[in-house]
Subunit: 633 residues, 2 copies
């Protein structure tokens, strides 16, 4: 079982300057824009079931998932910011979706209208169960937000019908989705309804995956070397590394964690731990992005992390979901560290500050040699994509931000990420005041009286910290060394204050040399934020810059970014481009001094077209010349 | 018109230790192995026209081209090393190919047997004209080698038939090939037969390309954004950069150069010069490889040259063909410099020393993070590929090696690459003695008496040189500064000796910082050879190594590589991998001293599986720290 739970959305609230404005923008801009796009492209009208061959706006196999994610986002957002017009619109759309359900419970606009004869015939590539899963998640969110059962009941009928088609019984299909999602959705349906048959069906889909005879092989004749792309190359209990399409993979791993928590299966838990370690120790960008190649949007090999890789926005959000589950299962700090790393960098980088433009791909460098292919692989954020999974993922991700900051147990409240905000725990309201992630001074104020354990994570990036309870300094390193958290079990009194100071120095991060793309380079990090150098703040293209690590690097405000945003300024050099030097040359490079400003990676490309680098050359310390000579020669 | 010509194969001969053995291996190993593969896979039997639906070894649209290239290789090899059994086998295969010609002149095993109804229906993707072109090249080579007209006549009939199908006349198709090749082949057919209609047809194919209405767009409905892949996005006279599939591109540019030479068209010449500069100044690997991505095997953007890019073997050979034509057209040294660069590095890297294994892709680094996908993108050379263009390209490329070393004009003989060998020019036999490319001391001995200009290229990589005529030192810098060649117009006497000494220091090459993959790294070059560091010669993975550029770097023999091969040994450091350090870290790297051996890139991966890097970090000079501080702070 889970050691911790995610808090309910209604129990927590953000009041910080980094995350909270993005939530408000989600309600004001992102969701309305997504609804508008769904309307214009036909994704909404598809549920009218009026499309006929030859008509425009022919439904696509993944359209239902897009609109479902918008509906889920609307419902979750209602739990954050109540809004009558949003509620009314959601109600109307829910009725529309329900109206598209077939008498047998089936609910899919593409296979009802376009290729009815192909229902359940192409699990490998047709996203049918994937769409069903997103509708289930939307229905669960709708029930949580409104208390109404109509959408939930509709999806239970669909799930029950799916349970007749798929399963271990005679005449049932032994298949499972090409794009995972329904497995974790069925776990949510089980949690919400208490009906064990949904958990059983989730478990069937997860455990059947990769069994022999391989369903995809039989169905499609797909050769074995394509099956890792679908995580179906072997049973999940025998999978030890993260393989294939990154989004699908982390959705599957999330479901495996869900099952491990609900069934107590230690093998599944061990596989989740192994795979998560494989991802975070060998296959994840510094920003938390995953998926190294556009070819199949997939994981590739350990240490293969090219700057112009993929790191799809949806995959970063999916890794947050998987990591959150692992944090709940184990309570280990490493999961919170990585969750924070993704959240503040490679996840939020996918959406513009204005909330209306999105990266599909979150590269770590965008420069003169950045190969742009279509809007998916664009240098700048775009309002929509033909495959628009990423924008709709943000609709449902943003309302959940506050839940990532806290963990809940019977008698323990844990502050995972000290963003300003509050949590209501039993009879106590716990308020967090901070300028996090730009400042490490955190004040936690307790309102009300209650006996419980309050724990606070000391982030892995933090080299030193200090803690004062009601003005009295204390250190509890014993507890910290055990699990990375400070804990106080006491009867909290109204007005008590805990002050935590996290030292937040500028750090220069290096990568294992096996990551060839980062060799000889450093990245700038302060607190949880990875920094990027944008062309528009600097005299030279970021690729020409070399950092002087020995110069003082200081926070400073950044013009054009939200108030409170801190960039980092330091010194370095820029490499000159002598005329007629050619592509390759043997002369020593020529340098000029340069003042360098870096901005949070998550906020790059919000002030117009520019070039950007996360990994930059370092003008000292990275080279063994002096140190090496002194030491060895 | 061409200022220079390539020499006839029978007029030149190699006797060096680097290239000549590869030619002998071509006759002994590569061609027989390719014939065997063609036989086993059905590429030869396809010409029996006995395939019927349901039978195995169904012909493929590009099979004819593979076998045609082997036949061309056999014919060219006969001109280098006469061999009765090779001649007999060639004769038999030529008869077989001729027997497959249809009454109307058509000659294509796939569209005769498998999809006869699709003849000329899918120019965009069906390789039909491409196969025809390779058969024409084979027929021309066969005529040159044997003096027999039967194969040449057969292909003339085919060309004549193609000339009825395609052309500007009423009822004729205004199409052109999706994969260029026939254009340059028709120029060869024109040169061989003197029939101008073949030149006209070549010109039609070249000039019609990209005209509106776009043929591919009409034929396939292919959107405009796919057409750069086929160099059909606009008319060739309006193309200024190298775009799309790299092999197709350089075959087209070769034909454009052929046309410019034969028609005197200055616009085509200017386009060729521009595109060649775009390739070599912005889109070419240091090894001469081209094509930066497996997605479409294509050119991408200026400075986009990832280490794990593509650099297909066929594309390197194709760039040699294009560059050779540009050298002939202009006589400019830059073309010979690049031709040499490709030849000694990225072209010969594609074939094993034993001659029986091939790289399809010539990456510049193969290491822990090298993503291997199928045999095309393998870490090691393979005997054959399902698309086996590269092995068969080597069959026809290797016999031509000597021709790249010399240029011919009416009254001038030019030594472009001073590999040991000889050339017969008028009544004079010119002998070159050298250990090139490992040593820069060149002796040119004249046998016989003749008045002509003898010119010798001073390579662009050479910083200093000395020349002695009959033991008397002389420098002719005026002439050299003009065009990069030393020239003597005189009545050469039997036994005269010209001694040219090219200084061949170890050089550390850097790349323009806009090539992000090479930033902060250096490559080792000596003479025309680019060096690579292989794991098996060194204590550490090449990726962990850092070069000490200030240490003495000295040539030394390499165990396991052919006698005479010189590696380069120098000092440096290796980065340690502390246990549990993690993927990203903030501690300073730890170094140990390392002795480093580098080997010629063209010869890597000939001694077993290993890791390899061309670009390595440099422990000094690349960083502005000291220099920068001294100068500016």
């Amino acid at each position: 079982m889970f050691k911790y739970n995610s808090p309910k959305l209604t129990a927590v609230r953000l009041q910080d300057g980094f995350l909270a404005p993005r939530q408000r923008t989600n309600a004001k801009v992102t969701i309305p824009a997504a609804v508008q796009q769904c309307r214009e492209t036909g994704r909404i009208d598809a549920f009218l079931l009026q499309w006929r061959p030859g008509m425009p706006r022919k439904p696509h196999i993944f359209w239902d998932s897009d609109f479902a994610k918008v509906l889920e986002g609307m419902a979750l957002q209602l739990l954050v910011t109540s809004d009558a017009s949003l509620a009314a619109a959601l109600d109307e759309y829910v009725d529309l979706v329900i109206s598209a359900q077939q008498p047998d419970g089936y609910l899919n606009t593409y296979f009802t209208q376009v290729e009815p004869e192909k229902r359940w015939q192409k699990l490998f590539c047709n996203h049918e169960l994937y769409c069903a899963g997103h509708l289930m998640e939307a229905a669960v969110a709708h029930f949580q937000a409104t208390g109404q059962r109509k959408f939930l009941d509709c999806l239970c009928r669909y799930a029950d019908y799916i349970g007749t088609v798929f399963g271990p019984g005679p005449g049932q299909k032994k298949g499972y989705p090409g794009h995972e999602e329904i497995e974790l959705a069925l776990c949510k349906l089980y949690d919400t309804t208490g009906e064990k048959r949904y958990l059983d069906l989730a478990e069937f889909f997860v455990r059947e995956r990769g069994q022999e005879p391989n369903y995809f092989h039989v169905e499609e004749g797909v050769a074995a070397d394509h099956l890792p792309a679908m995580q179906a190359h072997r049973p999940v209990a025998e999978q030890h590394t993260a393989e294939g399409h990154a989004v699908r993979a982390v959705y599957l791993y999330s479901a495996m964690a869900d099952l491990a928590a609900r069934t107590g299966d230690q093998v599944l838990l061990a596989r989740c731990e192994e795979i998560w370690s494989n991802i975070t120790e060998k296959r994840m960008y510094l920003t938390g992005g995953i998926g190294s190649t556009p070819i199949g949007e997939r994981f590739t090999l350990d240490y293969h992390l090219p700057q112009d890789g993929y790191a799809e926005s949806c995959a970063a959000m999916g890794l947050v979901f998987f990591t959150r589950r692992m944090l709940n299962l184990t309570g280990k700090r490493q999961y919170a560290d990585v969750l924070e790393q993704i959240l503040y960098n490679g996840a939020l980088s996918g959406i513009s500050l204005a909330g209306d433009r999105f990266f599909y791909v979150n590269r770590l460098e965008s420069g003169s040699d950045t190969w742009e292919r279509g809007d998916t692989f664009a240098k700048d954020r775009r309002p929509w994509f033909s495959c628009s999974c990423c924008p709709t993922s943000f609709c449902r991700f943003m309302p959940q931000l506050a839940t990532f900051c806290w963990s809940w147990a019977e008698q323990e409240l844990r502050l995972e990420i000290p963003a300003a905000g509050q949590a209501t725990f039993c009879n106590c309201q716990v308020e967090v005041q901070s300028q996090y992630p730009y400042d490490g001074t955190i004040r936690v104020i307790f309102h009300g009286q209650e006996q419980f354990t309050f724990s606070c994570r000391i982030p892995g990036w933090c080299p030193r910290f200090a803690v004062a309870l009601n003005g009295k300094y204390q250190y509890q390193n014993t507890i910290l060394q055990e699990n990375g958290y400070l804990s106080w079990n006491r009867l909290w009194q109204d007005g008590e204050v805990l002050e935590i100071t996290l030292d937040m120095p500028v750090a220069f991060v290096r990568a294992d040399w096996r990551v060839s793309a980062c060799r000889g380079a450093v990245a700038i990090r302060r607190g949880p934020l990875v920094y990027a150098v944008e062309g528009l703040d600097n005299a030279a293209d970021p690729g020409a810059l070399v950092l002087d690590l020995k110069s003082p690097w200081q926070p400073e405000p950044v013009p054009g970014l939200p108030e409170g945003t801190l960039g980092l300024r330091g010194q370095g050099w820029q490499e000159c481009l002598p005329q007629d030097r050619g592509l390759y040359f043997i002369d020593s490079p020529q340098w000029e001094p340069a003042s360098i400003l870096a901005v949070p990676y998550a906020l790059w490309q919000n002030r117009g077209d520019t070039r950007m680098s996360v990994w930059l050359r370092s003008g000292n310390e990275c080279c063994p010349d002096q140190a090496g000579r002194d030491r060895f020669i």
